[in-house]
């Protein structure tokens, strides 16, 4: 499948902004199953300074500064991405989860260090006994890793309510846990915190969903904005994605933009500005199949 993705973010400020500094993580990554063909980032007003770099986790970051007075700021990312059509493999033939936990106990083999970084607490997420207890219902003795992760995804989907008004980007995990509601970011965070509390490596994926489903399919939640899900590391297989918001295994309708320990590593667009007063944001995402 090939997709054209348009992601437009517009800020309107009540007072002029004199200087602003931003970082955008909007450029889709190259992965085993996806190949970006084209990418353009348009910024208005035109930044005085624009720099591109690859961050610690391999994401493309564009940093830019706008140094002229402005009341409106708009960023449009346009990408064309080819996504492999293969279906996810069988989840049954994976190692038992206890063995994976053992593998990520000190001393960890140098070959596993990259994945091990995702076992540890991160800026927004920490392991806790209550998360481990919740996860253990999916990871009973001898459960195969990915089968357990799939069950955890399903339970999160059933036990938590999708509610865009319940949380913001800044809502801490404890609050999500108590309220039992949230958005895709919170569902992904819950999954990661549960897995890490057992000692398993798990990471955060930010990306997109196809906007209009193929005929006869239901439209997925999160298709009109940026989306997020989690990924589990499985020895031999590598990282395997799970979308707890929709309770599906991402295949050719999910496009990966960036990877991180949690949302704070992959925020699509962040900024610090001088002036500006109150602001309103409008985000529009369109993911359209080309073939």
């Amino acid at each position: 499948m090939e997709y054209r993705i348009t992601h437009r973010t517009t800020y309107d400020y009540s007072e002029p902004v004199t200087v602003s500094h931003h970082a955008a993580r909007l450029q889709p990554r190259t992965t085993d199953t996806q190949q970006p063909r084209n990418f353009a980032l348009n910024i208005a007003p035109v930044p005085a300074l624009r720099r591109q770099r690859v961050d610690y986790l391999g994401n493309q970051v564009c940093s830019f500064s706008i140094q002229e007075n402005h009341r409106r700021f708009e960023v449009t990312a346009t990408s064309i991405v080819a996504v492999a059509n293969e279906r996810p493999q069988s989840l049954a033939l994976t190692p038992e989860w206890e063995g994976v936990v053992e593998r990520f106990r000190d001393p960890v083999s140098p070959n596993d260090v990259a994945a091990y970084e995702f076992c540890l607490n991160s800026p927004l997420l920490y392991a806790a006994p209550e998360f481990a207890d919740y996860a253990r219902a999916s990871f009973t003795r001898g459960t195969q890793l990915l089968a357990g992760a799939r069950d955890l995804m399903k339970r999160l989907h059933n036990d938590f309510i999708y509610d865009p008004r319940a949380t913001t980007v800044a809502t801490p995990l404890t609050e999500v846990w108590e309220k039992r509601r949230g958005v895709c970011q919170d569902f992904a965070h819950l999954g990661i915190a549960c897995l890490r509390s057992l000692g398993l490596p798990a990471r955060y994926v930010s990306g997109y969903l196809r906007t209009l489903p193929p005929q006869g399919h239901e439209r997925l939640i999160g298709s009109d904005a940026s989306h997020a899900w989690f990924s589990v590391f499985c020895p031999q297989t590598g990282w395997v994605d799970f979308d707890p918001t929709n309770n599906i295994l991402p295949a050719n309708e999910h496009i990966t933009v960036a990877l991180g320990r949690d949302f704070s590593d992959v925020s699509p667009l962040s900024g610090v500005l001088t002036g500006g007063g109150e602001h309103t944001v409008d985000v529009a995402v369109d993911v359209e199949p080309l073939s």
């Binding site: 970082a23 300074l49 500064s65 000190d106 006994p129 610090v272 001088t274």
Partner: protein
């Protein structure tokens, strides 16, 4: 407990100094009770002091601390944050040979830590080759991913480093802790030296104490050398988290000593990946930042986004190589005690040498064997979080076991340390107290250099965990002795370099101009308020109510409008009014009381701490003292209050004397004086307006009060030699431009200042503020006070009253216009 047989000052100090039993190492006496050789000079000098002299000198030391305002801040202290610095006047001495070996060990350690940092923020070979467990680095919030891959200016991550050392019973020195993020206390060490050398000049001269100034010169040179772009005279700033930080005093002291501008995050801005200082004349490039802001707070864009202390875009500027940070970002990583468990192996691996000074025995529970050992020996060990976390309430042993088992890598265990003891002054005698020595290291182009000396801290209860400024406890000067005579070093530039003469200092940051302006306004407000209160109390008749004293009405009404009195004063009886007047002096909760003004003055002076002289501090501390009520519940008599006001007026007069005589006519002074002139004009207009509204406006007694408030009584008498006349009084106070207390004089001074402001000079037309000021001056100049003679009973209805009211409306606008042109450091916000 020490056994003190007799009062120390009447006998030899070492006769009564008895080391605690069970502590085998005492720094002063050896096992057989003889004074150790390197302490002998000091012991002899102390012994030679006349009886009572040491006590007197200790008190002098204390007074110097108070007068210089040497403080540290204690978070969450209900008594107010600032605490006077606790200095124990008895120095700690180190013999030359011993120091040489400490020096070698500490430079080796600095070198080692720098190598580890270079690897963690670079290739990470140590992790891949299993020399360092990955969780030790990656599980720490102090490992800053955005700092990975940034090459530090000058090639070193660790520019400035401190280590806490202790001596164990077998005479061996151990490292208790590494301070790699922001090594604090070097400024306090300087202050300790200054005071100790002054109160104990005899031993200081006799003991050949190595000087510290050379170290700070190397620090200056090394920081200048970090400037990424070669410039003649690189601009180095000290980035402070602000006056609420624990060591704010020290930061201002260091900034002044090293000659650096002290800035807060909001004083800096990043444009085109370069850092600039916002000054009155515009943006000026910054080359090097000595940071006292925590690593993760330095840039809200790339690091903690809730930080209000950092500079947005700073990491980008550092990455682009346009500014140098000392220390580099992310150095806090090695402050984790868990690293100590791995240093011996790493030292062999990286430097090919034995680690010269051991660290206190440390187990990182991330390793299975260490976890097991810690769990089995929980009671005997000092178990604490391995990485920086938020403070938490103490855990029970069972809770701690559960926490360690759940995430063992977040915990370390350390052996408890028996500290050596050294003599301390307890107020009447020398007693042995446990000590910890903090030593400081700076990276120079020729390797690491150790400051000869350091901050020796005294543990009040012998518990090493209590050695922290947050827990109180004293510190002492550290004398590193020399075999050879010591050289004098000064921080001033050597004469070999031709000096460029300057008539102006470095450009003033806008925020400081703002603070000076308000310092001027509040100082004058305190002065004017004290005058009004004094005039009122002098005329106050305890027998009659406020409304029955027509002559007092204008004075009371003026104070009501200024917020010193509550509007109810009119209905008060004499007793309640008197209480209300006392409140206007002493009540800290009343918005414009003198007490409240003194607090605001002190806070503002704190914000310009690196630019205010010690004399100013002395005055402010006396101001504070004279406004402190004598005792709980005791009523102050009106007469006593007048004495307080007289003293206070002396103090405000000396404040304005210092600003007039001791400050160069640079921008800081200009804004201070502008604030003062605007405030004086406002108070004058307000009081004169109230006076004109009084039915007795031409009553000579009221006019006397007007002259008294404006300090013009003598001038008036020398000119007119008769009872005050309303026209003559108003002419003298409004229009006489030779009278430094007149309204016109204030306005003309403001005009002079305006003409010299940086941006006014460049523009052809006057700015909005300047325009407003010219209008005010013209209105006042055109007044004819002779009209007052004909306005009997309706004085305020004439031209004079109208002009006063116009000024009361326009002067606040003028103040706002100055703020808008010069002080806007527009608020920074975040959009995600």
């Amino acid at each position: 407990m020490p056994i003190t047989k007799t009062i120390a000052s009447t006998a030899s100090h070492s006769d009564v100094y008895t080391p605690k039993s069970g502590v085998p190492w005492d720094e002063y006496l050896d096992a057989s009770g003889n004074v150790r050789r390197h302490f002998a000079g000091l012991a002899r000098d102390l012994h030679d002091l006349p009886p009572g002299e040491l006590k007197r000198r200790a008190e002098t030391a204390r007074r110097i601390v108070d007068e210089q305002g040497i403080t540290y801040n204690v978070y969450g202290d209900p008594r107010g944050m600032e605490r006077p610095w606790q200095l124990d006047p008895i120095p700690f001495l180190i013999a030359p040979a011993e120091w040489a070996s400490l020096e070698t060990a500490i430079t080796q350690r600095a070198e080692l830590l720098d190598h580890i940092l270079a690897d963690c923020y670079g290739p990470q070979d140590l992790i891949r080759s299993a020399w360092l467990p990955p969780a030790l680095v990656f599980a720490q919030s102090d490992f800053l991913q955005p700092a990975h891959g940034i090459r530090p200016a000058g090639g070193r991550h660790l520019n400035f480093y401190a280590a806490d050392l202790a001596r164990s019973p077998d005479c061996q020195w151990w490292v208790l802790g590494d301070r790699t993020a922001i090594p604090t206390g070097a400024g306090y060490a300087l202050a300790n030296r200054l005071i100790t050398s002054r109160v104990l000049p005899e031993p200081f001269r006799g003991c050949r104490v190595q000087r510290q100034a050379g170290f700070f010169r190397e620090l200056q040179n090394s920081l200048s050398a970090l400037a990424p772009h070669p410039v003649g005279d690189p601009r180095v700033v000290l980035l402070t988290p602000g006056p609420f930080n624990e060591t704010y005093f020290e930061q201002s002291w260091l900034a002044r000593y090293l000659g650096y501008t002290m800035v807060q995050g909001e004083d800096l801005t990043v444009r085109d990946d370069r850092v600039f200082l916002k000054t009155l004349s515009g943006l000026e490039p910054v080359d090097v930042i000595l940071r006292r802001v925590d690593d993760d707070f330095c840039d809200p864009l790339e690091l903690r986004n809730d930080s209000m202390l950092g500079v947005p875009g700073l990491v980008g500027a550092v990455r682009a190589g346009n500014v140098a940070l000392a220390n580099a970002l992310g150095t806090g990583l090695l402050q984790s005690p868990a690293f100590m468990a791995f240093l011996p192996g790493l030292c062999q691996h990286l430097l090919g040498e034995e680690l010269r000074m051991p660290s206190v025995a440390t187990w990182w529970c991330g390793q299975k064997s260490a976890e097991k050992y810690a769990l089995e020996n929980l009671a005997e060990l000092n178990v604490r979080p391995a990485f920086r976390t938020r403070p938490e309430p103490a855990l029970s042993p069972d809770e701690m076991r559960a926490r360690i088992r759940f995430q063992p890598h977040l915990w370390t265990a350390q052996e408890r340390v028996a500290l050596s003891t050294a003599p301390s002054w307890n107020g009447s005698a020398l007693v042995p107290q446990p000590i910890v020595l903090r030593v400081y290291v700076v990276a120079t182009p020729n390797g690491y250099r150790v400051m000869p000396g350091g901050l020796t801290r005294v543990a009040p209860d012998g518990d090493v965990r209590l050695i922290s400024m947050q827990h109180g406890g004293a510190s002492k000067d550290t004398w590193v002795l020399s075999d050879a005579p010591v050289e004098e070093v000064t921080l001033l530039q050597s004469p070999s370099r031709a000096i460029e003469l300057r008539r102006v200092g470095n450009n003033l940051p806008s925020r400081l101009a703002d603070n000076f302006f308000w310092l001027g306004r509040y100082a004058e407000r305190a002065d004017a308020t004290a005058r009004l209160l004094r005039s009122t109390l002098l005329r106050f008749n305890p027998e009659s109510a406020g409304s029955a004293m027509p002559l007092l009405t204008p004075l009371l009404r003026a104070m009501e409008l200024q917020g010193q009195l509550l509007p109810e004063w009119l209905t008060h009886n004499a007793e309640a009014l008197e209480a209300d007047l006392m409140g206007a002096i002493f009540d800290p909760t009343r918005a414009c009381s003198l007490r409240n003004l003194a607090d605001r003055l002190e806070h503002l002076a704190m914000l310009v701490r690196d630019r205010t002289s010690n004399d100013v501090w002395r005055v402010l501390s006396q101001l504070d003292e004279c406004l402190t009520l004598p005792g709980e519940g005791r009523m102050l008599l009106a007469g006593e209050a007048i004495a307080v006001l007289n003293r206070l007026l002396m103090l405000t007069a000396s404040l304005s004397g210092f600003s007039r005589e001791n400050m160069t006519r640079a921008q800081g002074w200009r804004f201070l004086d502008m604030g003062l002139r605007i405030e004086r004009s406002l108070y004058l207009c307000n009081f004169l307006d109230c006076a004109l509204r009084s039915p007795g406006a031409d009553n000579p007694s009221l006019l006397e009060a007007v002259l008294e408030f404006t300090d013009c009584t003598l001038t008036y008498r020398s000119r007119y030699n008769l009872l005050p006349d309303i026209t003559a009084v108003f002419d003298l106070i409004l229009l006489d431009d030779t009278n430094p207390r007149s309204l016109l004089f204030q306005l003309l001074q403001l005009v002079k200042h305006f003409e010299r402001l940086p941006r006014e000079k460049q523009s052809a037309l006057p700015s909005p503020g300047h325009r407003l000021l010219i209008e005010c001056v013209t209105r006042v100049r055109l007044l004819d006070p002779r009209e007052l003679t004909g306005l009997i009973g309706g004085w305020h209805a004439g031209q004079t009253g109208a002009v006063l009211r116009d000024l009361l409306r326009d002067l606040p606008l003028l103040s706002d216009a100055i703020a808008a042109s010069y002080f806007t450091h527009s608020s920074i916000s975040r959009a995600d």
